[in-house]
Structure formats: C-alpha cells, structure tokens
Symmetry: C2
Subunit: 461 residues, 2 copies
C-alpha cells in the first residue's frame, strides 16, 4: 500500500505553524466546528462523514461532532468521549486526550463546555445543517451562508483564504498521496475498458482503487461516453467501440485533501483520426497552459492561452474560420470550450468555494459577463505554493450548438459541414493538478500519461 | 448485466395500486417531498442524492427536488423543468410530462405551484434539512421529527406502515435485484480475500460489484477482521492469515430498494477448528430461525429461538455452563449475541426506522428493558409479504466481556478458561433476507452459500 503511506511531516508541528500564521492575521478568537454525518434515509443511516474543510485545516483529523478554538496560536479542542454504547457498536476510539496530543492541542474539553468559550469568537458556518444550527444557537447570532459572511466572520474567512491559498509541506504531501491513488485509478479504468460493456463497469474499476486505499471520491465521478455533458453523473450508457470515454475522477485522502484528474480515451483502444486530431489539439492547449504556469502569471492568461490555442487549432482543422484572436474576442472558442481552464485545489476540489469567489477572485475582481469567461473560477496572479487544475476541453454540446441564437451569431465563424465530420467526438477533456513552485511548476499528476499513443498502450496492455 | 435488469411489473400500474390502498386508509390528502442532495464540503459538492423513501414508494423514481400529492387515488406531480444551465452542465433530462407519464401521474405542475395545493394535507418530514424547512414553511406548521408525528401526519405514517410492511410484486422484484447484486458482491469479496493485504482491498472488490451495476451501498459497509465491533466502518486493518473476516454489505437499487447480507469467512481460506465450531453454531441458529419463519409466527420468537440455539451450543462447546433455558432467562446468551435477530427490510435497510418503532413494533408493544431483548428492532407477528433479515451472531466484545459488573453477574455461567481457547474468533454473523410467503418463507439471498465448506471453496476458487 505504498501509494497511501502517511506523509512524514509531523501533524502537530504543521498545525502549530498554521495557527501561528492565523494569529498574525486576526486579533480575535476563531471557533471552527467539524460537523456531523448527515442523515440519508433515516437518522441512523447516514452519509459518510466529511469534516468541514476549515476545521480540517487546523485540526488535521476528521473528528466528527467536535470543535476547535484558535486564539493567539493556542489550540483548544472540544469533543465528547465515546459512551459505553459507542464502544459496543463502534469499537474503541481515541480518547479526547489522545486526540489532543496527536494534534498538539493546548487544552481539551467536553463539547458542552464550548458554550463558555465563544465570547467574541468568529466562525465559518459548516455545510451540515444540524451543526450550522448549533453554531447559530451557541454564538447567539444569525449566520449567513459562508459566501456572504459579515464582520469578524468575514475577516476570518479572508485570513483563511490567505493561508489556504499557499500550501505547506503537509498539504502538498497529502495532495501527492491523493494524486498517486488517482493516477492508479485512471490506469485501472483504462485497463478495464476493453472488457467493459457499460460506463458503470469502468467507474467501478476506478473507484475500487480509491476504496482499496481508504480514500473516497473527492467529488461525484464523471465516467461517461457523453463527455459533452459537463457534469454527467449517470453511468448507464453502453460502451460502443467507437466512443471516447471521458473520466473525471479524483481521490480525497482521509484528512480531506483532493486530487482532480480527467483523461479521455478511446473505448476501442485506438483513437480514430478525427478523435486523434481533436485530442492532440486539446493536449496542445493543456501543455501550453502548464508550460506557462509560473509565479507572477495571471491565471486568467492561462485561460486565454487555452482559448487561443483551441481556436487556432480549430481553424487549422477547418472547423472554425478566421483569425484565432478575433474568434476568441467573439467567444467563438466557447462554443466548444464553455468552461474555465480550472480552479484552486486543496481540501476542497474547488478549494474554498464555500466562500463564494473570495478565494478564486483577487480583491476587486468579479466574474466576467462574457460567455467565454464567466465560468472561470479563478482569477488571481499565481504564487508559489498554489495548486491549480489545468483542464482544457473540446465538446459538442447540443444545447449550445443547436441554439438558434448562437447559430446565427457564429454563422460565419463555424464550418458546420466540416464540424459534422468530427461527429465521433462528443467530449474531450485533459486535466492535471499543478503545484506552482518558486521557479515554475510541478505537475502532481505527471505519472499519468497524456500522450495519445501512451494512453492507447495502457488500454491495450 | 443480467443481474440488474429492470423488473417486469409496470411502474405506473403498481404505483396506482399503492395509492389506491393508501386512499382506503386516509381521508385527507398527503404531500410527500423527495428532498435534495445535501452539501458535502461546499454547496456544489454534494452527497449522492437519495430520495425520501416515502416519496419513492409512491413516485417510483428518484426525482430530486420534487413533490407528489396523493388524494383519493389521484397522483399529482410537482417538479421544475431543467433550465438551460442545467442542460449545459447536466445534460438532457426527462421533461415534467415525460416523468408524469412514466409514473402515471394524473396532473403535473411546477414545484412553485405546490403551495396552492397544501390545504389540509398530511406529510412526513424528509431527512434532508433544507427540504424539511421548506415543508415547515409551506405547510405553515412545525413538524416534529418523523418518529414523533402528530394528528394527520401520524395517521399518514400509520397508513404508510400498513402499506409498506407488506411488499407488492414490484417491491419484491426490486429486492431480488438488490439481492442478486449483493450475492455477487460477497462472492467477489471471497474471491479477493487470498490476494488481499487489508480490509479495504476486500471492501473495494465488493463495492465495485455494486458500482458496476449502478447500485450503491444501502448502508455503510462493514468489512472487517474485527467483527466484534458491531458497526465497524473503518477498513484499516491488515488481513492476517488466521483472521475471520466479517462482511455486512448490501446493495440498494436506483429506486431505493435494499438488500442486507452478512457473511463471515476465514482469511486463509479455511476455518480453524475453533472458528468452525462457532461458525457452525451460528449457522445452526440462522437455519433454525429461517425454518421457523412463517405467517403467524411472532418475530420475537425467532429471536428467542436463536438465543436458545446459541446458548445450547455454547453449553455443548463448554463455553457456557447450565441449562440453555436458564441461561437465556438470565440474558447470558447476550454476552455473546448482544443485538436483535434482525429487522424489517424494504426501501430502508431498517425499513421505516425514520418513524421510530412505529413499523417495527406492533401497536401496544414497546422495547424491552432486558439486555437480551432491548436491541430487538422488530416485534410483530409475521405476515406474508413481509421481508425481514435473519442475522444471528457470536462476538467477543471486550466492552461486554471485560465489564466488571457482567463478569461478576455471569461468573458461574461462563467458563472463561474454555472461552480463551476460542480467541481466534472475534466476531461471526450470518445474515440473509427472508420473504415471508403464504406457505412459509423464501430466502431472497439463497444463492450465496452459508455452509462452511462451500465458503471455503469460494475463497479458494
């Protein structure tokens, strides 16, 4: 189980450094709740527990129904001990003091005592509603959704963004583990393809790798021959020999760190010439963006690099007509690439998206109204320590291409007859996870091939 | 994909029969909401959607963010059409009218119109909190948790219990599908055992079968060499050659119907003689209960049959001392079998447990205070059409066996030296899903062997 070995940095030391960095940014206490498992179809049958990411950042461990209080670099843990019934049904679990020692807490109390420690404390609301209600009740003030926080909560959120944007050694080690298992899952998916009759069977081969490493999907996996449906979470289609399969699947480690990887491969083990043309074009855009990703570069420029590369390539293939710059200016590329080039990655697959665009957009920036830019989730200058995805794509989305308004608007830009020759391509995306380093970048998911020939070899292996 | 083929009874016809049976029992309208996906770590990253079971019973399909209104046999559907953005990101989905036709709705409206159709309507609150809040707001009255409903809501719940206790042709067909895939999953787990280093790897092999059939776990799978932890949901342990692996894992079909199966097998492919002795004892209790399960029999009697068989067998093995009847009277069996013999099975793995004991306990009956009976989830006379689990077990739970009070109380009943010779048995459970038929019973999960020799053969295959 080499892939899932625990990273080496000491958890308690790293957590101490994180809260010291927090203490440099805020002058009031912060209390963060972990949340509980949400009921699924009845109270005892719950969704798998996922601790709040802000809690995980400072507590390191996915402890259910706990809270931490951070003030001036101190960490206080609030959690209840297991009851006799808990031990009968759920087995022994670490005591409060054991947990406190592991995470380097300065003090530890029963959860019920938290109420006495909330004076002047900021918080960020969790997603799970019972705990969110508890936050409101105990803090004695209404909490808006996390993306619309006010006053000290907003200040805390801004400080969290500053911290979590730049990943430390432990975060990167955890993301490397998630990446390694994700790479293995995609390889398993490729190897399972020739024997698979349905999308579901390929998904099963991929998610089994995550489960075998005690990881979970970081988001609902996309494993589909209909890659043009951007967030396709159904797996019912039969796999036909001339399909492209798009798999967007990433692992999440037990302490919450994510990977997010997409590959697109031919179900027959070999790309058709039309599939190969478009695949190589998307790959060229992917490679150009990664090559350009460095400290100081505007992430938005990477998006435009991809748009430009795709537009130029589509002109070369005879699908678009005109000059690439003009086509991008008119958002003609977005007919085929209607999403952003990527996003922040960390404890959340869209990192800190619970805070709206606070993490994704630099101060003073807002989302564009433009069709070709409005879905961009990240608009910041890259800095060393950030992890971002790079994920260009090409899609034939019926809802876009058959939209009468767009067909009129882009009448002269698109050679529809030529496009029809590429009907065996519904959706292609190639996505990797990229750590910005002081001198450039490192692709955390580099072990998974992108070149068409290498992917064909993996499928046929 | 023969295992997951859709059952033959017409959905619309069966749903019509169900609501006619409801109309015979209540004289007011009922409105049931399906619920929405609960946010996991940020609003766009959600837990997999699970529609409310009461909604599924009458709507048949897992439609998110919808409601149905039932009155005098009529079905009205309330759901919104997909927006343009939905189609871009999530693809085409059936229109409201298409869904209405498939489920045989008499009328269909946008969800927003539901507010005008709520006069005098009863409901059952869903688990997911945002929708539960909507139920409260729209009905303009407070809703207690489902297990403590009042007035017409309570009447509706009682009618639901009457209906859902006795399964119809479609329900049984769906449970057969869940059972077939569950059997395949357990077989895959057995086949994966000799090559597995950890519990997680065996779990992966099992859950992959579910995923490949577009099913999900009906509950958090238990796959552990520490079967004495009754609800063990961790999968970290290494698999040692002399362990017993306990796997309690069941599939849930897309429309929500569950299976719930446990097998216990030797990780080396062969039971030790002590493991075999206790395994055969649990199996004898299992078989005796199933043999006895028939219309008219009190389910509580099956529990006592298992307790009696286990106590007698433990006396034969020299672990307990005395007469089986006396030992059961003193709850000495519960030292090793501290849970109930089983529960109702249907759309929920503990069917209708959201309603507390309303489904599990016949009118006028309440849970026993006795250690050996308090965990019994079902105390009713069996009727044809019920599906129940039968799941006796033997466990060495440290929290029970090392409890000073119990050690004193059972000092003379237990031969602790003899027990120590069985230290390679931490937990054994054998669980099947049993349909009560007019003339007896049918084991829906019969295709999965229970005999020790057959299980050994499967592992070694």
């Amino acid at each position: 189980m080499q892939l899932s070995e625990r990273p080496t940095p000491s958890l308690a030391n790293i957590l101490q450094q994180r809260r010291q960095r927090l203490a440099q940014r805020i002058s009031f206490p912060a209390v963060l709740w972990s949340g509980r498992s949400a009921a699924r179809n009845f109270p005892a049958n719950v969704h798998p527990f996922r601790a709040s990411s802000h809690f995980l950042y400072f507590a390191g461990l996915p402890i259910a129904n706990a809270a931490i209080r951070l003030e001036a670099g101190r960490l206080e843990l609030f959690m209840d001990e297991a009851t006799a019934a808990d031990r009968l049904w759920h087995g022994d679990s670490p005591s409060r003091d054991q947990v406190a020692a592991e995470i380097g807490a300065d003090a530890a109390y029963p959860l019920s005592q938290l109420a006495a420690y909330l004076d002047g404390a900021a918080t960020i609301p969790v997603q799970e509603s019972a705990t969110r209600q508890q936050q409101t009740d105990w803090l004695k003030r209404d909490l808006p959704p996390a993306k619309a926080l006010q006053a000290i909560d907003q200040e805390l959120a801004a400080a969290m963004v500053e911290l979590r944007l730049i990943h430390d050694e432990l975060a990167i080690a955890e993301m490397r583990r998630a990446a390694a298992v994700t790479v293995a899952a995609h390889q398993a998916g490729m190897r399972a393809t020739l024997g698979a009759k349905t999308e579901a069977e390929i998904r099963a081969a991929m998610e089994a790798v995550l489960i075998a490493h005690n990881m979970t999907p970081a988001y609902s996996s996309i494993v589909t021959v209909h890659g043009e449906v951007l967030h396709n979470n159904a797996y019912h289609h039969a796999v036909q020999p001339n399909d492209l399969l798009l798999a967007d699947l990433g692992a999440e480690t037990e302490s919450g760190w994510a990977a997010d990887v997409t590959r697109t491969w031919p179900t027959a083990g070999q790309f058709s010439s039309t599939q190969r043309d478009l695949y190589d074009l998307v790959l060229a855009a992917h490679d150009a963006c990664i090559q350009q990703a460095s400290p100081g570069v505007e992430y938005r420029e990477l998006h435009l690099t991809a748009a430009q590369a795709l537009a130029a390539g589509l002109v070369d293939l005879g699908i678009l007509r005109g000059q690439a710059e003009d086509l991008v200016e008119q958002d003609a590329h977005a007919l085929f690439f209607p999403h952003g080039i990527g996003h922040l990655l960390g404890l959340d697959v869209h990192d800190m998206e619970d805070l709206g665009d606070l993490a994704g957009y630099a101060a003073g920036r807002v989302r564009s109204e433009r069709f070709g830019l409005g879905y961009l989730r990240l608009d910041r200058r890259l800095q060393a320590g950030m992890v971002v995805t790079i994920e260009p794509g090409f899609y034939q989305v019926p809802a876009l291409l058959n939209d009468p308004e767009r067909r009129t608007r882009y009448q002269d830009c698109v050679n529809w007859e030529r496009l029809a020759q590429f009907s065996d391509v519904r959706g292609i995306r190639i996505e990797d996870d990229v750590l910005i380093t002081p001198t450039g970048r490192e692709v955390l998911t580099h072990a998974l091939p992108t070149a068409a020939a290498q992917i064909e070899a993996l499928i046929q292996a």
